[in-house]
Amino acid sequence: MTIDARFVSERGTFHLDVDFELPDQGISAVFGPSGCGKTSLLRAIAGLDRSTGHLRIGEEIWQDEKQFLPTHERALGYVFQEPSLFNHLTVDKNLTYGQSRIPAASRKVSFDDVVELLGLGSLLGRSPATLSGGEQQRVAIARALMTSPRLLLMDEPLASLDYERKLEILPYIDALHRDLEMPVLYVSHDRDEVARLADHLLLMRAGQIVAAGAIGDMLTRVDLPLVQGGEAEAIIEASVSGHDDEFQLTFLDSAAGSFTFTGRGVDVGADVRLRILAKDVSLTLAHQSDTSILNIFPATIDDMIPEGEAQMTVRLLVGEVPILARITRKSADNLGLSPGMKLFAQMKSIALLA
């Protein structure tokens, strides 16, 4: 089952011209600079703006040459950038507005589950105007979920919130990801959000999709702008395999091998996401045993690209898992680095994302 879309539309001087397929599960982030057409893409999918092309969600056709389902006949949930709650209805009436409009047989997401998932128990009788921005956005997410959508569209749901409120909502979106088997299309221009939440990434620029793929691959593709700058990073899925009580360490299993993380706090068995910044990875030709660095992995150079005048970004494969190293051009020259070379990657620090 996949989501298959093709849209062409023109609005003033802006052209949207996209053609893509998405997996029918997980969070797919639509990432790109402001004005690149992320919102236009979501609005086209929702049928809020007319465009030519087609849209198939698994077996269902929402749009093709012959038909165009209006928005209210598309089984989608849409979370707008601003909460946009109905101010004439209380929170619980906001939540049931959509649910009461779908057939009883289609109600797979229960009211109680959603209220629990998004922590809304104490807000149900309140008027939206009395809620904080973060609370309002949680209600808006819950309201969209209550229609048991085939596809959830989220348009920068955290962009209108301050940092504190973002931290308040992110765990709920993580939970939604784990607990509901519902594909999510998540628009963002915030790289940290994407690194934390996305399984799949659509990179947009000027109304077109530049590239699409799994998040781990996309972040480390040297032909994409994501590997440029100080934020260049690799994302690795891992699970907690054990702890060292004496030294207060956490051990993490991943496809790349076993990582050691400084500190504790995550239970054994929990799934986590590791972020390794390119600038925290150094390279040695021989395995160093007399070093303070704990995370050292054998790796193969996959590709290299110059970064500015003085630096080089190296794409490495640890097993099958891609990571990035940012080194000086002089070091690359001294070590005689070239694609296919085997060496060792030393990671000075790794971060856990949720």
């Binding site: 809020l48 928005t71 004439h88 959509g98 409009r101 969209a144």
Partner: protein
Amino acid sequence: MNDADIVALLVTLKLALVSTIVLLILGTPLAWWLARTQWRFKFILETLVALPLVLPPTVLGFYLLVALSPTGPVGTLTNAIGLGTLAFSFSGLVVGSVIYSMPFVVQPLQDAFRNIGARPLEVAATLRASPIDRFYSVVLPLAMPGFITAAVLGFAHTLGEFGVVLMIGGNIPGETQVVSIAIYDHVEMLEYSRAHWLAGGLLMLSFVMLALVYRQRGFRVSS
């Protein structure tokens, strides 16, 4: 107040009520369209709706009289389809009042619809509400203050109508004689006490209704 005055008052209230209902039925879709359309010539329609605000009622009444008379364009049509002549009838007064009070209904509704914006309707559409459902479940409740303002202003403004009625309604007791005309008659015949009763009643009624509108607006601002 004698019986003739009470009849005039009843005719006035009936005229205001019927006109307000017709105005809401016609004004709602018109205001909705004006609030949403991107049509570049919509200002022409807005100007037409607003004209009664600045036009002397006798001008409007004069053209209506010409149009509604048995040989006029509207009169010919109403005669042909068996409705008879509308001039000097209650129905004719309703037609005149609707045109005369149109801006007082359309403008508050148009403002209310514009203030709601497109977003709540888009949200409702993504929550499976059909267009008609969206109107009743979102637009109507959110625009309710606008509807109340429109209804009260339309009603109150029709109550105070004089020039148009004089031109197209004449002064037929029980049919087209409204309070404002009755007052004029009383003053002409120097029946000041009877004029006082009617004028005072109209003043009170208008004050109370406008006070209701402004009280509601005050609430809206403070909430």
